[in-house]
């Protein structure tokens, strides 16, 4: 019996994703001059949220199967 690793991974990237995507939405567009005008924070944040959803979804499905 172990802690399902997908839970902490999903939680961490969920929180990180919210933080980055939120910061991306609220920050001054001028800070993205360095990244060629692309809002890299928002896109990376969204990517993390999708990844977190997959991890948490997988953990939820397998915990349902086991009980």
């Amino acid at each position: 019996m172990q802690l399902d690793l997908r839970l902490p991974i999903g939680l961490m990237f969920g929180v990180l994703g919210l933080l980055l995507a939120g910061y991306g939405l609220l920050s001054d567009p001028a800070v993205y001059d360095v990244s060629l005008g692309i809002n890299v924070n928002m896109w990376t944040g969204l990517g993390m949220l999708a990844f977190a959803a997959v991890m948490l979804g997988g953990a939820w499905l397998s915990s349902r199967k086991n009980t």
Binding site: M1, Q2, L3, L5, P8, I9, L11, M12, F13, V15, L16, L19, L20, Y23, G24, S27, V31, Y32, V34, S35, L36, I38, V40, N41, W43, T44, G47, M48, F51
Partner: protein
């Protein structure tokens, strides 16, 4: 560095979040640490994807992230040989052919396998040298981390070292090997999310792969090489003078691709320990094979940023205190392309790889210390709880020794270079011993022991008798580069070990075949994995990984 990076609140928030989760995972794992099996081997209960990602992450310390980007700037796409030649073939081999003996023998560690297969003295030699080397690499990695953050961010080096040591210590004490493995998986994903946007934006800036090729051809011709020297991995390996690494294809394929790579991936307990924590024989065998899939694409994540850096930044950007330092390629790229937010994420990925590199070394050390040194030689009849306590003590000692090493490295850089050289002499012959041990039942304990000693001697003698360039010490032979000398030294060491082991084995009495069951290929029943789904069969995965690697080599030929 002329201007330090400036971090914003959001960057600190990301770093803080990472620390909170790392310690949180340790705390959540505490209740699962009931026996020494849980603490040292994760109860042999982990899924293959977890041990697989840990398998490559344990090796992917930040030194590698920084160093691979540096080599990308210095040598170009040829650096990918460290992956497509110097890692994947060995990972396939260990998964398909060697894991059955490591996992199946029920040994706790790689040195313990040597005791089962050969004898006590061979194990002692391997265990002691491994334990010492592990602590040193952990200490050196701490020192490199402290210095990097001092240079980049102006953080105090003492604070960096102590904070990293305390966090690693706490999470290993709480969750043992599982903590270390879970954090390695976390680090893997942090590296992917932290560096993928950098590669994307960097490539866009350089005009895609074709734009990058055009810019790098100028870099190559300026340095006096053919235009494709930075973007073609094999075409310029006919002679060492034609490529910036100064190595020819044979030395590369045999020295790196065979001796060094198989010696590391197939015998180093740091990585093998991850596979041995898997929940079944099949999962253990799948561990390196699953690991090979992301591993083969890592060059795009860690080497490409270095190539982009040398292509788009002026040469003066790499000059620090009057000397060119390509190790700054990755940090320079982060600074150039990352806004607040992603900058914090990129740095967190670096912090994570430093810490998990240390944690990997400390967990490998505490296991080898407890099972291969303390238990056989100091206290044989302890209870399980006693050995678990000893594992925790070894964790504390290992962390303290790493910190001490970091400070020694800070004061005496030359001693560290010398030690790393000696370690390379010790490691070079190892694969010959394991190869003969696992696949030749006639190999004897005395053969293995003296073979190892001869291999190390051969490597030392080779080093003393050869030099690099015109400035060789005592030059029976001058190699065109350090790398060529290193690769050829490994080839000599391996060959000496191989030959001496065979000769002495033939002259000594072999063990009876019944005693070698499960330890030697010809005396062990074959594993049938026909019952598994096709994608869970090691052989199928090995072929897929092998073909993909060959295609990558051809594409970047």
């Amino acid at each position: 560095m002329r201007s330090n990076m400036h971090l914003h609140g959001v960057d600190y928030a990301i770093i803080a979040l990472y620390f909170a989760f790392v310690l949180g995972i340790g705390a959540a794992l505490k209740r699962f640490m009931k026996t020494s099996l849980d603490f040292f081997e994760s109860g042999r209960s982990l899924a293959a994807w977890i041990t697989g990602l840990a398998f490559i992450s344990a090796n992917l310390g930040a030194q590698e992230v920084i160093g691979m980007a540096a080599s990308g700037a210095k040598y170009g796409i040829m650096t990918s040989h460290f992956y497509w030649v110097g890692a994947i073939p060995a990972m396939i081999f260990v998964g398909v052919f060697m894991m059955p003996f490591y996992y199946g023998s029920r040994a706790h560690s790689v040195p313990e396998y040597l005791r089962l297969r050969f004898d006590e003295k061979t194990r002692a030699l391997n265990a002691v040298s491994f334990a010492v080397m592990t602590l040193f690499s952990s200490g050196i990695s701490m020192y490199v981390m402290g210095r990097l953050f001092q240079l980049l961010l102006g953080w105090d080096i003492n604070v960096s070292i102590v904070v990293a040591a305390v966090v690693v210590l706490v999470y290993i004490l709480l969750g043992g090997l599982t903590s270390s493995i879970y954090n390695e998986v976390l680090q893997f994903f942090l590296i992917v999310f932290g560096f993928l946007p950098l590669v994307f934006v960097g490539l866009l800036n350089a005009g895609g792969w074709t734009g990058l090729q055009a810019r790098l051809s100028t870099v190559a011709t300026d340095a006096g090489y053919a235009a494709g020297a930075w973007t073609q991995s094999w075409q310029h390996m006919g002679s060492p003078a034609a490529n910036p690494m100064g190595v020819e294809w044979f030395g590369m394929a045999m020295g790196l691709g065979f001796v060094l790579s198989f010696g590391y991936w197939c015998t180093d307990f740091l990585v093998i320990q991850r596979a041995m924590a898997a929940r079944s024989m099949n999962a253990a065998r799948l561990t390196p094979l699953l690991a090979a899939i992301p591993k083969m694409f890592f060059p795009f994540l860690v080497i490409l940023p270095g190539m982009i850096a040398i292509a788009i930044l002026p040469k003066t950007a790499f000059v620090f205190n009057g000397a060119t330092d390509y190790n700054m390629a990755m940090p320079l790229m982060l600074q150039k392309f990352y806004p607040p937010g992603l900058l914090g994420l990129g740095l967190t990925a670096l912090v994570a790889s430093f810490m998990s590199g240390m944690a990997g070394n400390v967990t490998a050390f505490n296991t080898v210390w407890t099972y291969d040194i303390y238990k056989p030689y100091l206290r044989h009849n302890g209870t399980d709880a006693h050995y678990m306590w000893m594992g925790r003590m070894a964790t504390v000692f290992g962390t303290l020794a790493s910190v001490a090493t970091a400070y020694v490295a800070m004061q005496f850089g030359n001693i560290m270079d010398l030690l790393q050289l000696v370690f390379s002499f010790i490691n070079a012959p190892l694969f010959a011993t394991f190869l003969l041990g696992m696949f030749w039942a006639r190999a004897t304990a005395n053969g293995a022991f003296w073979g190892l000693i001869s291999g190390t001697l051969a490597a030392s003698v080779h080093y003393l008798l050869t030099g690099v360039g015109a400035a060789g010490l005592s030059t029976f032979h001058a190699y065109p580069s350090d790398m060529a000398q290193n690769f050829w030294g490994a080839i000599w060491a391996w060959s000496a070990c191989f030959v001496v082991t065979i000769v002495i084995s033939l002259a000594t009495t072999p063990r009876r075949s019944e005693e070698l069951k499960g330890l030697v290929y010809s005396l062990t029943p074959r594993i049938r994995d026909g019952g598994q789904a096709w994608y869970k069969r090691p052989a199928v995965l090995a072929v897929v990984v092998g073909v993909l690697t060959i295609l990558l080599n051809i594409y970047f030929w």
